[in-house]
């Protein structure tokens, strides 16, 4: 246990170094990209004096290291600056968009894991049967299909042609939808079943209906990828000596497959999932663009198009930090499953 704590502490420390690197890169990026922020703030006919004043107020006339120190210190205080475009504070804007992206990413991940691991196991244990061929074909298609195109096609077929789902947007967040449940069946009315079910149901239904297509769009690549990895990992493990030994001493096949082989298969699967988290976030960005999903992705694309640097930096710091944090969690999980890595 002590060694797990040490391992975790080391990973957290490395993570902090990476986040610091992310911040530094973002700071430098702003200085190597063409164009001065003043150009985007000052009116076109602004005089030289006005431009100077704006540059001064942004601290642009300070030496680079002073600007860098200012930037790092204010970030540590939780201050992400103010948008060039709207003049509003960046941090609340970024965090207001976070739930939408998290909902999408979490739903897609859970659905992907729930489908892909059983599919991979079935595919490996019933090799060369119809289910195996179907799973293999599906996973090949899944990793080869651009998710934004899949999204557009899902909209064309399921939303436009059949009208099963709305084409875009997210009228209600999960927390608000759940909040209504508490209002209806909260402590003051006793926690019994709500008498008036409608608002909750319609909010939840609304949320669910709107998230189905984006979640499929985002999750398909991962479902396919994890199915492939589970299948090949499982095939590899089932051919190993320890599996034969377990079978030879008479353990039930289910136990051999799920307790022994699957557990060892999951180790590389977890590594890859951790490595591919960046892809998940990138996928969320483009999925949001397809479905007008009001998350971080839409915000960052707007910010880039407007060259709204404080907003760009705010979004990317949060994305980078999120990636690092989730990776530490993945590594911790990994160390639990495979204690060898802690050495």
């Amino acid at each position: 246990m002590a060694s797990f704590g040490r391992f975790l502490a080391k990973r957290v420390l490395q993570g902090l170094v990476v986040i610091f690197g992310v911040i530094t890169v973002l700071f430098l990026l702003r200085y190597i990209t063409p164009g001065s922020p003043v150009d985007f703030i000052a009116p076109l006919d602004a005089s030289q004096a006005t431009r100077e004043r704006i540059a001064d107020s942004l601290g642009l006339n300070e030496p680079l290291y002073v600007q860098y120190a200012d930037y790092v210190v204010s970030l540590l205080q939780g201050d992400m600056g103010y948008s060039y475009r709207s003049g509003t504070a960046v941090r609340p804007r970024v965090f207001a968009k976070l739930p939408a992206t998290l909902e999408l990413a979490v739903v897609a991940t859970f659905v992907a894991i729930a489908i892909s691991i059983p599919l991979g196991v079935v595919s490996a244990t019933r090799r060369h049967t119809v289910p195996d061929y179907v799973a293999t074909l599906f996973s090949l298609l899944g990793i080869s299909t651009p998710n934004f195109w899949l999204g557009v096609m899902l909209v064309v077929v399921l939303a436009v042609q059949f009208g099963f789902f709305p084409t875009s947007s997210r009228p209600v967040g999960l927390l608000d939808a759940l909040g209504n449940l508490v209002v209806i069946a909260g402590p003051e009315r006793g926690w019994a079943l709500p008498l008036r079910v409608d608002p909750f149901l319609s909010d939840m239904q609304n949320w669910l209906l709107h998230i189905v297509l984006p979640a499929i769009t985002l999750g398909t690549y991962f479902t396919a990828l994890i199915t492939r990895l589970t299948r090949s990992g499982m095939l590899d493990q089932l051919g190993r000596g320890y599996v034969r030994a377990a079978r030879a001493k008479g353990l039930p096949e289910t136990l051999v497959r799920y307790r022994h082989a699957l557990r060892n298969t999951l180790i590389p699967v977890i590594t890859v999932v951790g490595l591919q988290l960046g892809t998940l976030i990138g996928g969320a960005v483009i999925t949001e663009a397809v479905f007008d999903w009001p998350g971080l992705g839409s915000l960052v694309i707007d910010a880039i198009n407007n060259r709204d640097w404080p907003l760009i930096q705010g979004c990317l710091v949060v994305i980078g930090a999120g990636f690092v944090i989730v990776n530490i969690v993945v590594d911790a999980l990994y160390a639990k499953l495979n204690p060898q890595v802690m050495d």
Binding site: I143, W149, V152, P268, G282, G283, V285, L316, G320
Partner: protein, 371 residues
């Protein structure tokens, strides 16, 4: 497919300077037993030929507009359109609303887009953009990533720690997000490259001698230049270097412990010499396999960038899908056709990647981000 087998045999023998005889034997035997690998090679060859000879095989100029033929459906489909016409009957103006069926024509087998441009020709020209960005971007990523990885793995210790933390920082930015930021901020510079087939008049001659189905002649006047999205190529290379660095490092870590490296060191070989002469050649197999997978990843990345409007060219599959979204209620094929082209291309590359992986067993499962 014995012909395919023979052709590949020749190709693989040509690579014998780089690959060991055992490697080539593994590749051939794996290919013989795998139908999927053959399908993958055929798909890639088709797309490569399409891209290379686009001015010869595309039925129409992909940029020439003809609004009277806009939104024609692909073969086998039809579309119903509400049409309002004015007619003067007995000195009275009558407005007639009627539904007209628009049928597919053989001249545009994949239909036409919102401006009446031929989808098939656009798909064929789009292959050029995708493959050029995919290949050049992968090469750039390799040129940046492999030396970093080899040095990191060869020296180990502090050098390795520093370089790998830099790699971690790079990984913390999702490649699509970083690519959008870089293209968006540095601008979308593109380079017009003269099309050799058109410049030297080959296209005119060959097209003049062919005819289209339906008795039409093959129109001449193909685009004289091809737009190379320069910023995008640089950005996708810069964004994906880290995968090559990781794989090259892993290999170098193993190779540096080999006896022949120790021997080279003991007779006074310099580090630079050992890395070039011993570490690099012995790390090549997984790097090549990763390179294949990366082409697929970069093709997907390019299409995503074009889809979001961060490209430098308007002849790209991703761009057309974005255009097609405007017509998602009336003309689904505008978005569908370029997407299918992407899927076929990427399936082809992935199948070849699987073939190489199964034959060479480089142990790099899961490296190389997708979109």
């Amino acid at each position: 497919m014995p012909l395919l087998d023979d052709l590949l045999g020749v190709l693989l023998r040509g690579l014998s300077g780089v690959l060991s005889p055992r490697t080539i034997r593994n590749l051939r035997s794996e290919l013989r037993s795998s139908v999927l690998a053959k399908i993958g090679i055929v798909l890639i060859v088709v797309v490569l030929l399409m891209a290379t000879f686009a001015p010869l095989v595309a039925p129409w100029n992909p940029t020439s507009q003809n609004t009277s033929e806009a939104r024609e459906p692909p073969l086998g489909f039809s579309r119903v359109e509400n049409q309002t016409t004015q007619q003067t009957v007995d000195g009275e103006v009558q407005i007639i609303n009627e539904q007209v069926q628009v049928n597919a024509t053989a001249a545009h087998p994949l239909g036409t887009d919102g401006l009446g441009r031929d989808m098939l020709s656009r798909v064929i020209y789009g292959a050029r953009t995708s493959l050029l960005v995919g290949l050049l971007g992968t090469m750039l990523a390799m040129v940046i990533g492999v030396p970093v990885g080899l040095v990191s793995g060869y020296y180990k210790g502090r050098v390795d720690d520093t370089l790998m933390r830099i790699a971690d920082v790079s990984l913390a930015f999702p490649s699509l997000v970083l690519a959008i930021a870089l293209v968006g901020l540095f601008g979308q510079a593109s380079v017009p490259v003269p099309d050799p087939f058109v410049t030297f008049g080959v296209a005119e001659v060959i097209r003049g001698a062919m005819s289209l189905p339906g008795g039409l002649t093959y129109p001449t006047g193909m685009p004289e230049t091809f737009t190379l999205p320069g910023t995008v190529i640089v950005v996708v290379g810069v964004v994906n270097w880290v995968w090559f660095a990781r794989v090259a490092r892993g290999e170098a870590l193993g190779v540096r412990e080999e006896e022949y490296v120790k021997a080279a060191k003991s007779i006074g070989g310099s580090d630079g010499f050992i890395i070039r002469r011993h570490v690099l050649p012995n790390s090549l197999t997984p790097i090549l396999v990763l390179g294949t997978i990366q082409v697929a990843a970069i093709v997907l990345l390019e299409s995503a960038l074009s889809f979001l409007g961060f490209s430098g060219t308007t002849l790209s599959w991703g761009f057309d899908i974005a255009q097609g979204r405007q017509y998602q209620t009336t003309a689904w094929w505008i978005a569908a056709m370029p997407g299918l082209a992407i899927v076929f291309t990427v399936i082809g590359i992935n199948l070849v990647g699987d073939w190489l992986r199964d034959a060479l067993d480089p142990g790099i499962e899961g490296e190389g981000g997708g979109v």
